[in-house]
Amino acid sequence: MEIPYTVEARKDTGLYNAKVGIWLFLASEVMLFGALFSSYILLRVGAASGDWPAISLAWPHGLLNIPIGTFNTAVLISSSITVVMAWASLKMHDFGKFKLYMGLTLLCALGFVSIKTYEYHEKFTHYEVRLQDGKIMTGHIQGSPMFWDLKTLADKKITALDFHPDAAKHGAKAGEAPAAKEHAKHAPIPVGEITYLSAFVPKHHTFFAIYFTLTALHALHVIGGALVMAFLWLPGAKMWKTDPERFTNRVETAGLFWHFVDLVWIFLFPVLYLL
């Protein structure tokens, strides 16, 4: 049985069916990401004023790596350009260039996910420590272990935590104004003095909960889009020989999804990293 309207447009919609399908899907995606963006904005404007972590309900600033985020944004914008080049190459019947540009798009997708993984690792090895005297610090544990808490310290029978605090801004006592940017002294902290220890994981703070939800969902979309494009680049490319127009439409549909994913990041980046 032949599937209708894979190449020619339907009279009622004026489009081939896959294009109608992908736009309906993207409309549902707008609602998904729109709801999460709304959640972020409500959490952001509802946060307490003051400096985190001295005021635990305040919104953390400056915890994300802006140069890396900017570089990742450039990688995604480049991938959108290459995916359009790949599609345009097929329109011009240049299959060799399609292979080249689609390969570059996949490389960009791989680069984005790799950089995002590095960013996640940075967060999972970054800690907040609260001491009995009310002092609150952020920093790194010697050896950069991930996901430690007080239970981990007890299980490992650690008596003193080799902690490298961040700049004094994140080492102020509750209610104190941020001090000048100087690194606090590095000294082992007796575990008995620690009342709270947590890595920057989703349960640690509302900011991290919404940050990881939004960026992980986005990264899953990047991986999904990359898998589809990898199929079109390798085994799916056989269709070019038998049904070139239909193959070109498939690439266009994948490209539309990819552009949506990239557009989401264009909004995510300033909201999460800059504001």
């Binding site: 914008i77 959108s80 490209g255 539309l256 552009h259 264009i266």
Partner: protein, 68 residues
Amino acid sequence: MSLKAFHLVFIAASIGLAFGLAVWCLRRYAESAGQSDLIWGCVSGVTGVALIIYGRAVVKKLKKISLL
């Protein structure tokens, strides 16, 4: 909407982001006089201009492809 039209929308959003980032960096430079903020601000501005030139080239090159 075709991929061509969506690409132009995307490039317009990217241009907005590039100039927005440039303004953000230059404002930070005005506050703290950090050299890296000045460099990032200039790079973002140049990227915005480059994207405008690219957008115009896309419109010209894909003239025959429908926006629908």
